[in-house]
Symmetry: C2
Subunit: 395 residues, 2 copies
């Protein structure tokens, strides 16, 4: 990767003082490494795996099976090079030439499977533990009404895990599997968004940072790309869908970075082509797709928004995590607490009617404790925000 | 069009005799003109209209509206240049910015509309009256379980019309709107057939000549095209789907034509790119798609099977019509007669029980007449076949 996560370490190492705090944060995060979870959603054949592999130069999907319409997997050649952890709410023996009635059913009412894989990438001493959550089967069935369910459930499940971890005793060792970003793949052949695209984004936009991506954009001419982008932006706006938007650039950032972000914003939704094939063209080695009429260079900004998408992701990993924590997870948590409060009150009323004053008091005590714990958390958060603000102003 | 419908007119005009029969047939058909009905089916965005316009160099769809996911039509610029006759089993006001509840319903349970347009094309004095039946909306909904219904119904309706016409008094003026060929568009991004593709072909292959087409094939490299073709051929075979196959070439045809047909057979399913845009490249005018990395020439056999598809259609129009008449329509007719016979017998039994012998006799008389009419038709057909055989052998 050519860019790296930005952090304020412009000051010389000899200087020791308040301004060194960012360096401490920096050193600590280098030691600890970064964690990031990316989800990819879109019809099969839109190049999800190829794009992810191109973005991180890692072969995450070398061991995957490509299913035909029957659901039989054809093993792709290659070796497994990932840490790997699977999440499969429903599984079944899907191999062998004979179809069971279950498989025949799946063939036309294909379930969406969720599978998560983790790779560790190291670059200039900075470790990134990247988890990619794939959603094979999305949109591939004749009837796709159930396509969202398992995806919504997966995202909620990770929030739920974190919610319990946060309230438990050993808060230091919470494993955070929340999804920080979701690339949603749009077909280049649509004349805008399909009903399935709109439904998906509507169901998910308050749970995860959606980054819509026009994939396999090398099937479109320049004018077709521009028209499709305009149409998609219009529809996203008209449908009231909230996709992830880049935050305002601070006034004191350098001009080059400001210009880069301006171009990123302008290019959204990114129209990308992916490839992991290394080819020789114009006397240099590059990754691309070789057609009889020419070579698509995926890192050439005239051919594809690939570099823009990669830079956007890398320079905004922290922002994507913060929005996940402060907006999407907070939504989930407040909803959860409201549910609990309602359930608690209902119990209180029931208990009151039964006249059991001892249990009554215990319940109220527990609710009070929870309220206090909430208050403490808010104070912690405010303290953290203040610290960050003073860091920023001291830069 | 560079090719024209083949007919045996190699003999000098002075010769008069039995061998002139084909010339008579030829002259008559030139006067009468040819009629052909082509249906196009496939998800929107797969380039159906562009391909049809490219094939016949006519702008059939200059007046079409491209609907967004809401179902609102955006009027495309252009003038109407077609004879036009619409077939819409269900219609509704689909314009205006506000959505009615009916439109909201349609948005996610999009109906497949059927629309037929007729153009008259003349080439070297030979007239072709071409009807293109379009099926907008196919495969575009979230739930596509009803996608086939209106298409199956349309094809059956045309058989039904012809069936009634054939039995009526004025048999000379039967209008024949039966579908002779159906181009089924397959996405280049699938890894073979989708469940929807398989279901469609299974439901239709005994009613119409299906010619599967991999469309927008300029999104695939040469190897990807080859792999996809192999996979589709395998699946069509495994699923027991009967697509249209080219008939054996007569031994006495010239070597060049034999080779052409061999290449056509080998290339199926045709992988095509369409374009109506005239461009200047390599110092000549051609139709193609201009990408930043090169120009796809749609008539270049190295770039696309477009020419093969066009030649296949033109050299096999008559065969497609014959298979429609002798296989698909015959299937329909026999089924229809069997149904009527069953209904007749049921009535007979009922009548018999009622003891109404007068009606009984009338029914039997009618059935006998029908049987006789069947026999006459078969004799006619045999006579026609014999005539054709002797024509062929006299060539």
């Amino acid at each position: 990767m050519s860019s790296e996560v930005k952090s304020g370490n412009e000051h010389p190492q000899s200087y020791v003082g308040f301004a060194n705090l960012p360096n401490q944060v920096h050193r600590k995060s280098v030691k600890k490494g970064f964690e990031f979870t990316l989800m990819v959603v879109g019809e099969s054949g839109l190049g999800k795996s190829t794009l992810v592999n191109s973005l991180f130069l890692a072969d995450l999907y070398s061991d995957r099976k490509i299913p035909d319409a029957k659901g039989n997997g054809h093993h792709a050649n290659g070796t497994v090079g990932v840490v790997g952890n699977g999440y499969r709410p429903t599984t079944g023996a899907r191999n062998g030439p004979e179809l069971t009635s279950q498989q025949l059913l799946e063939k036309f009412h294909k379930n969406v499977k969720i599978s998560a894989k983790t790779v560790e990438i190291e670059e200039r001493g900075v470790k990134l533990r990247l988890t990619v959550v794939d959603t094979p089967g999305f949109g591939d069935a004749i009837n796709n009404e159930d396509s969202f369910q398992s995806i919504v459930k997966y995202i909620d499940d990770q929030f739920e895990k974190f919610f319990h971890g946060e309230r438990g005793l050993n808060r230091r060792n919470i494993t955070d599997s929340r999804v920080h970003c979701c690339f949603y793949f749009i077909s280049p052949f649509g004349r805008g968004l399909k009903p399935l695209d709109i439904q998906f984004m509507r169901q998910l936009h308050q749970k995860v940072n959606i980054v819509p991506v026009i994939s396999r954009a090398d099937a479109l001419t320049k004018k077709e790309v521009d028209d499709l982008k305009k149409q998609i932006r219009r529809e996203i706006n008209d449908e009231g869908i909230k996709v992830y938007t880049l935050p305002e650039v601070d006034e004191d950032e350098d001009q080059e970075y400001k210009e880069e972000v301006r171009q990123m914003k302008e290019a959204m939704p990114f129209a990308v082509a992916g490839s992991t094939t290394s080819i020789e063209a114009k006397g240099k080695k590059l990754r691309g797709r070789v057609y009889p009429w020419g070579v698509v260079e995926i890192e050439n900004p005239e051919h594809s928004d690939f570099i823009k998408l990669r830079n956007m992701l890398i320079t905004h990993m922290q922002d994507l995590q913060e929005v996940t924590q402060e907006v999407h997870y907070e939504n989930y948590r407040l909803q959860k607490l409201a549910e609990e409060a309602r359930a608690g009150q209902a119990e209180l009323i029931l208990d009151h009617h039964a006249g059991d004053t001892a249990t009554d008091k215990e319940k109220m005590k527990r609710m009070l404790e929870e309220k206090e714990s909430e208050l403490r958390k808010m104070q912690e958060m405010m303290a953290k925000m203040k610290a960050e603000m003073s860091m920023n102003s001291s830069k």
